[in-house]
């Protein structure tokens, strides 16, 4: 069984919700990413989303744009990020890793070589922000043939008909984008999120993860009550941005936020 499915199955027996941190691979420098991944696991991560830096991150706000720029200043490539996952896997065989990014680096590598390398590196799932299900058949098939999953997004603007399509093709979990906007947007409206999740839940048994606008323990706890997973990105990337030259401080701030969220979420459910 895929690590992601296994993770949600295990959480179901304990009644807890998944905490999914996002960091950008290669930020602030490639040498630190694997350590940060371990740090995230130690402070409560169930699944890690690792971003592949891209020169034109159209769906990201300034925080993750700058993370991409820091990573690209070191020429961090898709191949490099896959290598980071491979290194991470040498000492962590259990934590699921989802790769998140934009399509062009994957297009340039080629779907089949990418899928082979990702599988060999221990990637469990891939989320391509600018690849809706209508365009994803070939990549999804390449991933599936090697046991990896395709994660799709849902948005407040997704009408019912599209929701059916996405639920039909979704694997692993569905990533519900809580607000109309880019990453790092203003805080979400929990009542609104709940109403949308209820609507989606009537269509699928896939776990529902909520991301965008979750910055602190209180929001994480509130979302954990209505969703299966909480995704946190910009708040963590900000810890890196604030301390680019101080590895120890990056780690302590990252784990500080993670522990706070973990505790708040576990207490809430």
């Amino acid at each position: 069984m895929n690590r992601i499915d296994r993770c949600f199955k295990a959480l179901k027996t304990t009644g807890k919700k998944a905490l999914i941190p996002y960091i950008t691979g290669g930020d602030p420098r490639p040498g630190l990413t694997v350590e940060l991944m371990h740090c995230l696991v130690e402070s409560g991560a169930d699944i890690i989303e690792i971003g592949v830096p891209f020169s034109d991150p159209m769906a990201d706000g300034p925080v993750i744009q700058l993370a991409c720029e820091r990573a690209l200043a070191h020429n961090t490539s898709l191949r490099d990020v896959l290598n980071m996952v491979k290194t991470f896997r040498q000492t962590d065989a259990n934590t699921a890793v989802a790769l998140m990014g934009y399509l062009n680096p994957i297009e340039v590598m080629g779907y089949a070589p990418f899928a082979a390398l990702a599988s060999e590196s221990g990637v469990d799932a891939v989320l391509v922000v600018d690849m809706p299900p209508e365009e994803s058949a070939d990549l999804s098939a390449a991933l599936k043939s090697l046991g990896m999953q395709s994660i799709f997004l849902m948005a407040p603007t997704t009408p019912d008909k599209r929701a059916d399509l996405i639920c039909g093709q979704g694997e692993g979990y569905l990533y519900y984008v809580s607000v109309k906007g880019v990453t790092g947007s203003a805080a979400l409206d929990v009542a609104d999120v709940k109403a949308n999740l209820d609507r989606i839940r009537s269509k699928t048994d896939l776990p529902l993860a909520v991301g965008f606008g979750i910055k602190d323990g209180a929001t994480a706890a509130a979302v954990a009550k209505v969703a299966d997973a909480v995704i946190v990105g910009s708040a963590l990337v900000n810890c890196v941005a604030r301390n680019v030259n101080d590895d120890a401080l990056i780690k302590s701030e990252l784990s500080g936020i993670m522990r706070q969220m973990r505790a708040a979420m576990d207490a809430a459910v």
Partner: protein, 403 residues
């Protein structure tokens, strides 16, 4: 040989031109694009909408634009007869307004009170601000900080027209970054905002609807050539930024196999190095800004910085229909360097009394070269996509003149 009639029926319902085009955006925008496709499908068949569009083109833009026989340029070159399609004479000074009139009418039908646009040279920004002023729509224009500096005149025009101009300093601070920022703004304000994309690129249905709105250029050229010469031209030349003036000129001629077509990309400092903006000549297929198309990207798939003396051509991608027309060999894609464009700028100004936009100067440069190789009884049409007033400062600075 490719079935050229079938080519004119593209894109498919999903927005594909062969492997190119499509819809590569985040989920939040998908339903807005579906709605736009539906609206456009409906209105493009609605005679009332067409009549409104035609009326505006005639009475507000000043169409048809002349097809002008450049007699002295023809003599100077000593080859084929050179005609200029005078898009520079349109209201606001470029072909861009053909498209903004159309999209603003669509915006009006959606009832959304705000419009946004990206701009490079500022011509699309001005054309958008203009139609927004006329329709009473709130208008925000995204423009790279580098372009704001080199196209000051247009920035001021947009502000006079009541638009807010947002300076974009991320990435390379040029057109591609302005487009990124416009997309980000659109995702956030999709409920009340209509995005008026300025070129025949972006997610479906934009490449199709921009092409349809610009195709008036080629349709008129066809008619005018028949009236003036009793036959179709032998060659068409247009510059390529995202490709809207070129596809507008080319599309009505796709089935006319006797007509050779040349799309001229920005050769910058030359195609041997990296300082150019010529994805069709030198790039590879990839995905950016909502469509699959030829791009300038490095071996890791990162988009490369581009260079062109003209802000409107300084873009690493191109509309997907051009990618397809390249692959099937119907259009030839070539490049003119900065220097060639600047030389052509001066030549046209001095011997025809027409100051061309630096973008259009690329087409003039290649058009002169090509005409020289052709017999005197042949006809070559250059699409003069815009006028050069906006570029006076750039050209003066390059020539070492302070104004």
């Amino acid at each position: 040989m490719t079935d050229l009639k079938a080519v004119t029926e593209l894109p498919t319902k999903t927005g594909h031109f062969g492997p190119y085009g499509g819809r590569f955006v985040s989920e939040t925008l998908m339903s807005a694009l579906d709605d736009l496709s539906e609206l456009y499908e409906r209105l493009s068949k609605d005679p009332e909408f067409q009549a409104e569009y035609d009326y505006d083109l005639a009475h507000y833009v000043g169409r048809p634009s002349p097809l002008y026989f450049a007699e002295r340029l023809t003599q100077h070159v000593g080859g084929a007869k050179i005609y200029l399609k005078r898009e520079d004479l349109n209201h606001t000074g470029a072909h861009k307004v053909n498209n903004t009139i159309g999209q603003a009418l669509l915006a009006k039908h959606t009832g959304k009170p705000k419009v946004i646009a990206e701009t490079g040279a500022g011509q699309h920004g001005v054309a958008t601000a203009t139609v927004a002023a006329r329709l009473g729509l709130q208008c925000t224009i995204f423009m790279g900080a580098t372009d704001i500096e080199r196209q000051k005149l247009n920035v001021y025009r947009m502000r006079l027209l009541g638009a807010e101009v947002v300076s974009v300093s991320s990435g390379t601070a040029t057109l591609k970054d302005a487009m990124n920022e416009a997309m980000r703004h659109w995702v956030t304000h999709v409920d009340d905002t209509f995005y008026i994309i300025g070129t025949a690129a972006g997610p479906h249905p934009y490449p199709k609807l921009v092409r349809d709105f610009q195709a008036i250029i080629g349709r008129e050229t066809k008619r005018q050539s028949m009236a003036l010469e009793g036959r179709l031209p032998d060659a068409l030349v247009a510059c390529i930024g995202g490709g809207s003036n070129a596809i507008g000129m080319f599309y009505p001629f796709i089935e006319d196999e006797s007509v050779a077509m040349y799309g001229v990309e920005a050769g910058g400092h030359g195609l041997d190095g990296d300082d150019h903006a010529a994805p069709l000549c030198k790039g590879k297929p990839g995905v950016l800004h909502g469509n699959r198309t030829y791009l300038m990207a490095d071996e890791n798939g990162q988009i490369m910085p581009t260079h062109s003396v003209s802000a409107g051509l300084d873009y690493p991608g191109v509309g997907p229909e051009h990618s397809y027309l390249k692959d099937i060999g119907r259009v030839n894609y070539v490049a003119a360097t900065d220097q060639e464009a600047l030389d052509a700028f001066h030549v046209l100004t001095e011997i025809e009394g027409i100051i061309p936009a630096l973008e259009s100067s690329h087409a003039v440069a290649f058009g002169m070269k090509q005409a020289a190789k052709m017999d005197k009884d042949k006809i070559l049409v250059i699409n003069l996509s815009g006028r050069g007033d906006k570029d006076i400062h750039t050209v003066a600075a390059i020539d070492g003149i302070e104004i």
